[in-house]
Amino acid sequence: MSDTGTGQGLDAAWAVDWLLRSAAVVADNRVALSELDRAIGDGDHGENLDRGFSAIVAKLDEEEPATPGAAFKMAAMTLMSKVGGAAGPLYGTAFLRAATAVGDADALDPTLLVAALTAARDGVVARGKAEPGEKTMIDAWTPAVDAAAAAAAGGSPADVLLAAAEAAEAGAVATDPLIARKGRASYLGERAIGHRDPGAASSALILRAAADAAVSSGTAGAGA
């Protein structure tokens, strides 16, 4: 990992590591995520994401993306075509917009990272039209973007992602008392209260994987 250098920010190796860690954490939480979805949706969220991220892992076996943007684009296309359901197009759009935001940069500094996260969140809003507080993945992404922007002033890339992960986790927990207004859970009315939104939960897991990859990449970089 250290061969590409991380001095200027997070590179393609980090992006690949993020995707692999995401795949692992989604696999580990496959049942738990579907369980959340079973309570207020149709019980397939973990299964859907696992199908998509497994396909990403398979793709990464075949080809090595040269830039973070290339990794994001590959992830976007794979999620779009393999996940299905609401989450597939939404996560797909998120990664696609992130890819566009970072262009062909070799490494992502805090500013580019914030731009990528913001573009991802805006993409989900553009496709799904959810506002904050409607009990969707947006409720994890929006605080994550805000926290990342705050941390970017003076922080390292890892600091940015650690702040984003922490905020996303808090945002996911904060969906518990909400009534859903978008997605399947919206049909439940008050019965959605007391349950965590599965998409917000998976978003927090994936953003935590990004931070973990950054920390480990930083360590690796420091060791080089």
């Binding site: 149709d42 019980g43 299905g84 359901g85 609401a86 399947r184 049909y187």
Partner: protein
């Protein structure tokens, strides 16, 4: 969970493969990405395509054939199919006159079909979309993802399919599909839950004496739970919001569709049908056409839905037009 399956992950692939073997005269199964296309369609005809999560059989692949769909795209169980399958299916359904996508209004379906339609259009295929949202169980569509597409989908596919078969153009086929959607209302009830194969546990729990009114077709909960009632009482509860929303006038002609959710014997559907006819006739409506059976299901769920479609002469004629698909056939 006891099911006649092998690997839970292979359920859809193996089932559609068997379906293709049993109906090789009518359909071709394309395995990867998975979609089903019609054999021997007229060229120059508007193509009709539908799709969605699997588990609602015979919807949609069962309706591929003469006078109905040209292609169907089955997703994973209860999960919308993805653009990588919808796009080649759209290409297969197109014979030059464009393709109508019939999409049930669920967030996942809408987003995936939207993406696919954009990409197909970028490849030069004209696509129109009919969004089916006939489910009156969803009371306040402002604060939800909107009314869901349920039983009315079958009627949209049959009637729009007949319009395409008689040679209507792209916009005309989409318009008649839209007209069916505008005139049909559906409400369902679940007596038991269903189990998604890869989940292995029921999608929700219903107590021994509880039923769920306003169920969708994915085992997702509905409007509210009530203690079990008799068939006539349940039928009243389903018809009431349908009629309140459709607001038919005395003398209107309707099609009455009593649909089984997969685990309810047809004998029970006819008990529901019997009372539904009486209620509609008491409201001054003429039940001119009927459909009773398992046409849009939720795996092995026990329960049913009732759809009422207000007919006009053109819709009636298109309903009566010959159809030859694995699951719906008459006149040929």
């Amino acid at each position: 969970m006891k099911k006649l399956i092998n690997d839970p992950k292979a359920v859809v692939d193996e089932s559609v493969e068997g379906f293709g073997l049993a109906h090789a005269d009518l359909v071709t199964v394309h395995p990867d990405p998975l979609f089903v296309s019609r054999k021997n369609a007229k060229t120059g005809k508007v193509g009709l395509l539908s799709g969605g999560g699997s588990g609602h059989e015979p919807l949609h692949a069962g309706y591929v054939g003469f006078g109905m769909l040209d292609a169907a795209v089955p997703g994973a169980v209860f999960t919308s199919p993805t653009p990588d399958a919808i796009i080649p299916a759209t290409v297969a359904a197109n014979s030059g006159a464009g393709v109508v996508h019939i999409v049930k209004n669920y967030t996942g379906d809408v987003l995936n079909f939207e993406t696919a339609a954009e990409m197909a259009q970028a490849e030069g295929i004209e696509v129109r979309t009919v969004l089916v949202n006939d489910d009156v169980a969803v009371e306040d569509s402002l604060y939800t993802a909107g009314r869901r597409g349920v039983g009315g989908t079958v009627l949209v596919e049959k009637i729009a399919g007949a319009a395409a078969e008689r040679g209507d153009g792209l916009d005309a086929v989409a318009a008649i599909g839209q007209r069916v959607n505008d005139n049909v209302r559906t409400m369902g009830v679940a007596l038991s839950a269903c189990t998604v194969p890869h989940a292995g546990v029921p999608s929700f729990e219903l107590a021994e004496n509880e039923i769920e009114i306003g169920i969708g077709i994915h085992g997702e909960p509905g409007r509210h739970r009530i203690p079990m009632e008799n068939a006539d009482g349940i039928t009243d509860r389903l018809l009431e919001p349908i009629l309140a929303d459709l607001k038919p006038a005395a003398g209107d002609k309707v099609l009455l569709f009593v649909n089984g959710m997969g685990g309810t014997p047809s004998s029970e559907l006819y008990i529901v049908y019997r009372h539904a006819v009486k209620v509609l006739e008491a409201a001054g409506l003429g039940v001119e056409r009927s459909l009773v059976g398992n046409y849009i299901t939720a795996l092995e769920m026990q329960g049913c839905s009732i759809s009422v479609l207000r007919l006009d002469d053109e819709m009636t004629a298109l309903w009566d037009a010959p159809v030859h698909t694995p699951a719906l056939r008459w006149g040929m």
